[in-house]
């Protein structure tokens, strides 16, 4: 069986798994980073969002083999002291309720702000529509993205 070398949050990990295993399960079950969540398994809800070379992907539907040689960032890797502008805005506006989808919401928001530092409401709707929140925190997510944009100035 092949061993895959993954770089997650700047750290090297070797995982001995089936090549078809989605990156999500390698991150959660094998590497043991549980901040990235399983929500649907078919790239419909966004709870499993991580960055691959800075771009958001749905790790539940992304084979581990395709992540080799790329830079993977998970929620645990976006800041060391919980001081990323998006995290700060999320705390300031008290966005999460149950919190389960929020790792994915935050990873998508971080990626959005990288490509569009000053997003409009329509930009946010378009970028965030792939992330379901059953608690219904959308109004706060939107406000917090605008707030993070201000904090990043």
């Amino acid at each position: 069986m092949p061993v895959f070398n993954l770089t997650i949050n700047g750290k090297a990990h070797s995982v001995d798994v089936d090549a078809s295993m989605p990156l999500l399960w390698a991150i959660r079950d094998v590497v043991g980073l549980t901040g990235t969540k399983f929500g649907c398994g078919i790239a419909q809800c966004g709870a499993c969002t991580v960055h691959l070379d800075g771009s958001p992907i749905r790790s539940c539907s992304f084979p581990v083999v395709a992540a080799v040689g790329k830079k993977i960032t998970t929620i645990e890797g976006i800041s060391e002291k919980m001081d990323h502008a998006v995290q700060k805005a999320w705390i300031e506006l008290q966005v999460p309720q149950c919190g389960y989808c929020q790792s994915g919401q935050i990873m998508t928001a971080v990626a959005l702000l990288k490509t569009k530092p000053h997003p409009t409401d329509a930009d946010i709707d378009a970028a965030m529509a792939g992330n379901i929140c059953r608690c219904g925190t959308y109004q706060r997510v939107k406000k917090a993205i605008h707030r993070a944009s201000e904090l990043m100035k």
Binding site: Q94, Q97, C98, I124, M128
Partner: protein, 725 residues
């Protein structure tokens, strides 16, 4: 959430790293019997005859630990429960360690449901904090040898007013721990509150923005394996045989065993594939060859069942409420209306699919890690289904990735326990989203046959709400009595404050084998749709403004009248709106509380409807965290819109057509309207719930707004906003 071991006293003290004296206040009970009114005891003086369970621990270093006895599922109990103690104890919440209780009998009911957590604990927990504070103040006065009246507590210290001398709580615990617990401590006046009533940041949120919060899904136990269960999507089927030879050849698959999930009177068989990781378990499951005997249940479909409900609407049913003479008044009336309202079965679909980690140890001792709304429920259901003692089941309550009523049930935990027992290893069983969508239990549909009559001057003379539905209790309880009115299934319909001189409400029970469950705001989530849309129909028939019509029906003062008056003002009811926009109003009062909403919708050029804005007034009496209340109402609005306008669960050939989020759609960011919330908290004696009351008015307010915008009356949920006209 940090998983903690069972919190008996010895363990707890070890866990807290306590050495020597500490002030430990707790409740005590005799054995496994739950004591709702357990008295408060000082552990140092209480003796050891009974189990004493700590609620507040202050050690010599001044470290303060407060227990939260209600699971956190997003509703904020991880803050609101400790806040009740911290307020009276005069400590700020960021200086406190919060620990979750685990179903121990002495903590009483640890179920978070029915919007009851704060309401149910408000006085008792404040008393606990006040007792501790008074003991510390007394201890300080003794140590200084000054009158107790010269001392007061502030910021985890006791201060001697005349001299400004100060003791930290840690310096007082040794003396305090020898004192008797005051029976009637003085509670703080609301105007002196520093925590309650303030929008303080929630302590769980930093954990939830950094991936550190531990949900049931994240439990890690040494030696743990993973399981996925193949069940028959047709409820009521029996397993004939299965072939696991291909499954066992898949890399990582360790074992295949039979499982059993117990939901009330129902037992559901399954085949569990156990593997080194979850992906391997899923691949193994796909490779199973299983034969089921559907026992005829594959003939079941929603279309026919719904038609049977329509047919049953002609029956009189059981009378739930009767005032005046409805039959005669309605028969004699010249102006009358009749309408049938229909609602669907829906799923709970919390973002964290059902999962449970169980370690089955020697001597049939069991440890469980689970996202649950009620650790007591998990203990009881595992013990009962496995024939073991509840005392041998230890439950670690994790953060719930959503509850909405689904996690009030232990069915999935009984399934995980059956697997753990069969393999003798710690196992994490995870449901796929498909399992979570299709396996139930679901919110029931209700049909409502409405009748109303009006006098010539537009006053309601007779009113009837007859509910035709299956029953939540009926699908789980073997002893369900269908000769009596099912209170849950007629929830709230006779409690609205409208003054109808003649009203007769009724219930018609319909059998089903589909497992049903409480869902956020329970039956009010569907009954309010019929009730409040029909009130609108009567208003239209009477040619009156819908909000004015409602207020005219409430001559007496009531909270409902107050809420309607406020929503009128808050939403600027009657003020001009942009072209194509219109408003609708609805209110509903039920066991959990009371709220009213005004929804503004717009009609687009293509005929579709957009929900633009929702104004909400929620009546609480007393509020712990206003910002969190607003968040809960915002969330209830989102959930209400999903239930009103998305897919619902539809059965064909005995199984749910909906499988995952592509066909069981949830509201998304781009569909979320602006929500504005007003809280009424005038300090009234009755404290009302937060989590649920924001939901029932959503669907009827939308439908009433759509009528105002288009003239089209909606009497069936779900309705597609793109296909109204």
């Amino acid at each position: 959430m940090q998983p903690t071991s069972q919190l008996d006293r010895r363990n707890f003290i070890r866990l807290s790293g306590l050495t020597g004296a500490a002030l430990v206040l707790g409740f005590r009970s005799s054995g496994a019997e739950q004591t709702a009114d357990a008295a408060l005891y000082n552990l140092e003086t209480a003796g050891s005859t009974f189990e004493v369970t700590p609620f507040v621990i202050i050690d010599k270093m001044g470290l303060i630990t407060i227990m939260s006895n209600k699971p956190e599922m997003g509703q904020g109990t991880y803050q609101s429960i400790p806040a009740l103690i911290a307020e009276e104890l005069e400590v700020s919440l960021d200086k406190v360690i919060i620990k979750q209780t685990s179903g121990e009998a002495a903590y009483g009911s640890q179920t978070a449901g029915g919007s009851s957590s704060v309401r149910g604990s408000y006085n008792q927990l404040r008393k606990t904090g006040a007792s501790a504070r008074e003991m510390l103040v007394t201890a300080a006065s003794q140590q200084w040898n000054v009158p107790v009246t010269e001392c007061y507590a502030e910021n985890a210290s006791v201060i001697h007013k005349p001299t400004g001398k100060k003791f930290g709580y840690g310096e007082l615990v040794e003396t305090a721990s020898k004192l008797e617990v005051p029976k009637n401590p003085t509670l703080k006046k609301p105007e002196d509150f520093k925590i309650l009533g303030k929008s303080i940041q929630r302590p769980d949120i930093p954990l939830k923005v950094s991936g550190k919060a531990m949900f049931g899904m994240d439990a890690q136990v040494p030696g743990m394996v993973y399981a996925s269960v193949e069940r028959c999507p047709v409820f009521g089927s029996k397993l004939i045989s299965y072939d696991d030879s291909a499954a066992l050849k898949i890399k990582g698959v360790l074992k295949v065993v039979k499982s059993e999930r117990v939901y009330g009177k129902n037992k559901y068989e399954g085949i569990a594939v156990v593997a080194e990781n979850y992906w391997a378990a899923l691949q193994g499951r796909k490779a199973l060859k299983v034969q089921w005997d559907y026992q005829g249940f594959d003939k079941f479909n929603s279309k026919e069942y719904e038609q049977s409900l329509r047919d049953m609407a002609k029956q009189d049913g059981l009378v739930a409420h009767n005032v005046g003479d409805f039959d005669k008044t309605f028969a004699d009336s010249g102006i009358k209306l009749e309408a049938l309202y229909e609602t669907p079965i829906v799923s709970h679909s919390p973002m964290e699919p059902m999962n449970c980690t169980v370690n089955w140890m020697e001597g049939n001792k069991v440890e469980v890690w689970v996202s649950t709304q009620g650790p007591n429920i998990i203990k009881k259901e595992i013990a009962n289904s496995q024939g073991i003692s509840q005392d041998d089941v230890k439950v670690n309550v994790m953060f719930n990735g959503g509850g909405f009523g689904r996690r009030l049930y232990g069915d999935f935990a009984t399934e995980a326990a059956s697997i753990a027992r069969a393999i003798g290893k710690p196992v994490k069983m995870i449901w796929t989203r498909e399992d979570d969508t299709q396996a139930g239990p679901f919110r029931p549909m209700t049909y409502s046959a409405m009748k109303g009559s009006l006098s010539a001057d537009g006053k309601v003379t007779a009113f009837q709400h007859k509910v035709i539905s299956p029953s939540i209790n009926g699908t789980s309880n073997a002893k369900y009595d269908k000769t009596k009115v099912d209170g849950t299934m007629v929830e709230g319909i006779s409690d609205q404050k409208y003054e109808f001189p003649n009203m007769k409400n009724a219930y018609v029970y319909s059998e089903t084998h589909i497992p049903l469950a409480a869902w956020r705001s329970v039956t009010s989530s569907t009954l309010a749709f019929a009730h409040e849309c029909f009130i609108d129909e009567l208003a239209v028939k009477a040619k009156k403004d819908p909000l004015a019509f409602r207020l005219e029906l409430m001559s007496k003062e009531s909270d409902a009248k107050k809420v309607l008056t406020k929503i009128k003002e808050f939403s600027k009811w009657g003020s001009p709106l942009p072209k194509g926009w219109a408003r609708g109003v609805a209110q509903y009062e039920f066991f959990a509380g009371l709220a009213a909403h005004v929804v503004e919708v717009s009609k687009k050029a293509d005929g579709s409807i957009k929900i633009e804005k929702v104004y909400c007034v929620i009546d609480l009496g007393t509020v712990v965290n206003p910002d969190n209340v607003k968040a809960q109402v915002e969330g209830a609005v989102a959930m209400g819109i999903t239930a009103a306008t998305k897919d619902g669960i539809v059965f064909e050939k005995g199984q749910s057509l909906q499988t995952n989020f592509q066909n069981n759609r949830m509201l998304r960011m781009n569909e979320m309207p602006k929500v504005e919330v007003m809280i009424l908290a005038d300090g009234g004696a009755k404290i009302k719930g937060v989590g649920e009351p924001g939901l029932p008015p959503v669907a009827p307010a939308i439908a009433n707004a759509i009528f105002a915008a288009t003239g089209k009356r909606i009497r069936r949920m779900p309705f597609d906003l793109n296909k109204i006209v």
